[in-house]
Symmetry: C2
Subunit: 347 residues, 2 copies
Amino acid sequence: MNIKLPKKTILTGDRPTGQLHLGHYVGSLRTRIALQDKYDVFILIADMQALTDNARTPEVVSSNIMEIACDYIAAGIEAKRTHIVVQSMVPELAELYMYLSNLVGVGRLERNPTVKAEIQLKGMTDHIPAGFFMYPISQVADIVGFGADLVPVGDDQAPMLELTNDIVQTFGGLYGTNVLKPVEGLYSKVGRLPTPDGKAKMSKSLGGALALDATEKQIKSFVNSLYPGMNGRRIDEPGLIDGNVILTYLDAFDPDVEGLENIKQRYIEGGIGDGDIKNRLLPCLLELIAPIREKRTELKKDLGYVKQCVYQGTQVGRERVGKILDKVKTSIGINHSDYIFKEYITR
Amino acid sequence: MNIKLPKKTILTGDRPTGQLHLGHYVGSLRTRIALQDKYDVFILIADMQALTDNARTPEVVSSNIMEIACDYIAAGIEAKRTHIVVQSMVPELAELYMYLSNLVGVGRLERNPTVKAEIQLKGMTDHIPAGFFMYPISQVADIVGFGADLVPVGDDQAPMLELTNDIVQTFGGLYGTNVLKPVEGLYSKVGRLPTPDGKAKMSKSLGGALALDATEKQIKSFVNSLYPGMNGRRIDEPGLIDGNVILTYLDAFDPDVEGLENIKQRYIEGGIGDGDIKNRLLPCLLELIAPIREKRTELKKDLGYVKQCVYQGTQVGRERVGKILDKVKTSIGINHSDYIFKEYITR
């Protein structure tokens, strides 16, 4: 007998502060595309969260919402299966955040690694926006608000899951309910891609990132700039694996795993040049990016389709969060519309 | 030529953590009743704010919402002129709070006197709920969200107005708009009433408060318990004014100001006993409280009328805040419903 279990829910998302790049593709987008068959996936375009440290340049946030939506769809996110949701259009998340923020001590936020790093960087807490200080709770509201079972994360995001599950436990204990579900991390096997010089991880704020709509010329120039771990090696000298950015990219993008292992072996022994492995990488990236770039260009010509996908996804998300918020308020005993004022509400 | 200016808006409110008492009557309620002719008054039942440090006992908050509404109406707040609003039923305030919290530094909150006192009291920031730490910003969201011109305050609330006006200025400067209005304090001439022993100010959490529906017996016993500034004075000895709780109450409640001055003079000179001035105070309180108690008992028999008043007031408040939030989001450039997704919105 086959019993069809309901699909588990996955919440994932990005802060819309720039176009997505190759690092996003490897680190998360590729996984999301693979997950959308088996799971109920919500992707949150976290504009409220992005504003917590971009309040002085809100146009950075607002102008990137549709850009990032185009990236998603061009890369293979299908709106029929994945709900793309704009965070600020789900005001229920703001309410939920307020209720949850009463269950977390200030000390816990002060110890949050990201917030702590920011405080050290800026020196004075005066320069840390209160909204930014609180963003870990807002993330928790997102996770539990969508009823996520799983959240794809990197190793550095373990504190987020811990905070979520602590809040879930506190909430359940205080109000005697399992409305809020504990969450599990879906840890990525692939680490973050390095920048071409190998000195940092690819990020939106730093340079050295290859956009998902890069031209052939940009891709070629990018591949050429990748650092092979040492300079001035003669072909017959042994090549390096550690710190070799070209090989790291081949690991991430070469679909021919066996062939790649073979090449690597010969590279270490000497006899294969850096140009040879760059020539192996180039077509991998060209073939990966070309259809994304073409689809993205097509989508951008008339944003109607992307808008429709995002708008509909947001409606689905809003309904989901609304139902959970409703139960949360009932559990706290603060759902006055349903109690004190029941006779006045027409639904 | 008479030009009719629009009425100025006043925002005031209470945390619903207990019934109102005589201290509230003197300190704020009496003023609000007088103001409702000249101003557009919103009274906020601040249940979200009360939850910031009552999350573990939410029933304290939820059970007092209608109690406090009954107090208002029984004391003379007229729903036709004053809008009684339940904070948690205006979710737009939560959104506004999130946007504003990006404009305030964490250091500023750490220096807030109330928060600072709480941190000293509790020792560890771990025991300060993050929501409580943030409540000053939530208050600002309330004030600017209702578009208040004036806020009745005590001297200790000056930091709240300062924070409000700083945020208003930052917001206006950053986003080039005067959507958010600066606010002025309406400082109360009357200080807070002392407890009967004169050792503290009347508050909801301490004992020694006389409820607005106190019985005759309770009022008599309360008046009897008031401390005259010294014990064991003979009638012909001079009486004290300083620290004399009976006289403080007479100052607050005796409508015959001239007669009272006369009595005070004779009291200082000696010749009038403490019982005499208590006997003067008793009818003042009996006459003040009797109609409030009777009306309150009537209202509580069938809460329908009170519910209707509060529900309608909340709708008016919600509409008001919604319009301002809309402009706030447009100013930030995050009103996606009006821009990106305009064609999908049916209003």
